[in-house]
Amino acid sequence: MSDCHTIRVSVNGTSHECLVESRLLLVDFLRRDLALTGTHIGCEHGVCGACTILLDGDSVRACLTFAVQTDGCRIETVEGLGESDNLSPLQQAFRDHHALQCGFCTPGMLMTCIDMMKKYPLADDQAIREALSGNLCRCTGYVHIVDAVRAARDRPEESSP
């Protein structure tokens, strides 16, 4: 049996205690052990941004983090944002501006947006594009994603997660 450890984590406000193998990636822990399949696996080497989640409030790549490292941490995933019939303001901005086509990149985009809106003024579209540059959309729907972020930025009171 390979090296295992018990971790306690809070995911979207719910506490979990689990036995995890050391080599288990956080993204696989979320999807397989907790059945939170909203976080997507794209490239598995930190390039595409599809697996971006919030770890203690900061956006991180869940494919470059081991579950065992997150013992005692607070994790937020796309499932923590809103419900299908009650979207968060940021999700609503994505819907209003047609900011998703196939939707594969969307969970990572949303979690990235929450962190970048908190940390940067995003004064113009160039700044928004640069802040989004670590998340790939292979439908290349960037124009509408930038539109959604701009709208969410302009209504800050509504765009908290």
């Binding site: 050391s22 991180v60 494919c63």
Partner: protein, 292 residues
Amino acid sequence: MKPAAFDYVQSHSLEEAMVALRKYGGDAKLLAGGQSLVPLLNFRLLRPAALIDINRIPGLDRVEMIAGDALRVGALARHHTLETSPVVARHFPVLHAAMAHVAHLAIRNRGTIGGSLSHADPAAELPMLALLLDAIITAESTGGTRHLAARDFLIGALTTALAEDEIVTAVEFPALPAGAGWDFAEFALRSGDFAIAAVAAVLTLRDGVVGEARIALMGVDETAIRASAAEGLLQGQRYRPELIRAAARSACAAINPITDLRASADYRRHLVEILAERVLAGAWNRAEGQAA
């Protein structure tokens, strides 16, 4: 695309980490931000017996000014901390300018200063800035502490002077000379991608004459390098556009670029010449502004 099995060792102190490193005798890797290490594990290019997690060692992430207006950065400081540090922006604006080019926010949130130096990627900003700013890197092991100049620390692509059982614990950036002008320019295909080439410079002027010139280049050789011949050309000279162009050509002659999928060696040479000209002009302008 999943890592091979390894033992996970959580360190709560530097001593614990150093003892664990020694115990595994070169078959362990330190896990800090993991932003370069974990891709290598996921691809199984690395299969260490153990990962020694140093993320929870207290006090290793401090960013502080120390005696002589030097900046001391703990190895566990994250790139985002340096990027947004008012102290860095005020005292080391060239470092501040370079940090915005490091990867993407999610990577900067995790990636550490010690990790970037130890990984020594030839296209990473931090090793280049350490070289430009004559930084001193502290490496510790159960056998003692060493202080290494950046130019002795960086040996080649992904290769440093660190021994198997040593941990980078801090990097110190000595104060910039008073009135120094600086500039930094990078070319990458996409914001946050690895640089195809970057150039940084620090210049000091006395009565319009160059006192000290430092030029660092990256992405264009085995490791970040200083363009020593170009620095020598500038020393003791007054501003002439031809001088800047000659120094840029000299910097370009010093490099050993490769051809890969992103750019040819010739294109990298072209970039270095153009970027060096811009950066030297920019640094000179700032130095003149300081003198005025």
